[in-house]
């Protein structure tokens, strides 16, 4: 298994402008669009509509609400220029249709170009592995700035 999500790479994948701690109160679709817009505003997405359709198609297949309060909407699409990760959180939690019925409070988005299948799976699995640790989730709940979030992620994948 390739493990390409290194500490150094977090800054490229998830610069602080991909991280917002001030999301709107909305539903699952709203959070997906909010995360996508972080990447659009950062210049990572050429074609917002194509990226959105790819993300929604993936949700249609089965939810990316992976349980324990985490949602990781993701897609492979050439609408994104390079592998990118965005983050926000929901204090109240948002229904992501997870199997354990727990509302999602920590929300990540992963977008990777079509050619990056291995990268896509590596980012998704490394992030999932990190988020299984209670203390990583607690630190993400407690983070006060985007830089804090980025620091937690760097530490978590170390």
């Amino acid at each position: 298994m390739t493990d390409t999500l290194t500490q150094n790479r977090i800054e490229t994948l998830a610069p602080t402008e991909h991280i917002s701690l001030e999301p709107p109160t909305t539903d699952k679709r709203g959070y997906i669009e909010f995360l996508l817009d972080l990447l659009v505003d950062a210049g990572r997405v050429d074609d917002r509509e194509t990226a959105l359709q790819a993300l929604l198609a993936r949700e249609e297949e089965t939810t990316t609400g992976v349980g324990i309060g985490i949602g990781i909407p993701h897609a492979q699409t050439d609408a994104v220029t390079e592998p990118s990760v965005a983050f926000t959180r929901s204090d109240d939690g948002v229904d992501f249709g997870a199997m354990d019925d727990e509302p999602a409070r920590l929300l990540f988005m992963i977008l990777v170009p079509e050619s990056g299948a291995d990268d896509h799976l590596a980012i998704l699995s490394t992030l999932s592995r990190a988020l299984m640790h209670d203390e990583v989730r607690e630190e993400l709940y407690d983070a006060e700035t985007p830089a804090d979030v980025q620091a937690v992620l760097k530490e978590a994948v170390a």
Binding site: R58, T62, G65, G67, I68, A122, L124, S125, T126, S128
Partner: protein
């Protein structure tokens, strides 16, 4: 203890153990009366690497790709049947898995009439 069984299975779906195959896998584990844990089969059969398989995030964290082998350990009264069903999930191409899901969602009993 004697009820613990294990099997190594090669993952067939093109996208690996991800998305719908992963969800079907976890649902099968959740429906079973046995405890199920999984690991990459390359992990020298070290039990400390086994991850509980009843959780989407745990299964996602393994990052199992198409063609990789995973080791499944089931412990409980229906261990053998559970391994059979999980092997079927892992060896069914993704498009066919979707079709089966569509017809078998509310009928657990349809699985194997001769089981």
């Amino acid at each position: 203890m004697s009820s613990e069984l294990e099997r190594v299975v090669t993952v067939v779906p093109e996208a690996g153990l991800h998305a719908r195959p992963a969800a079907t896998f976890v649902e099968t584990v959740t429906d079973a009366d046995s405890d199920v844990r999984i690991a990459h089969a390359t992990d020298d059969d070290d039990d400390t690497d086994l991850t509980p398989a009843a959780s989407m995030i745990a299964v996602t964290s393994l990052g199992v790709e198409h063609g990789e082998e995973i080791r499944i350990v089931a412990d409980g009264p229906d261990a053998a049947a559970t391994l059979d069903e999980l092997e079927r999930v892992l060896t069914t191409p993704e498009d066919e898995l979707g079709e089966e899901n569509a017809t078998a969602t509310d009928t657990d009993a349809t699985t194997d009439t001769n089981a």
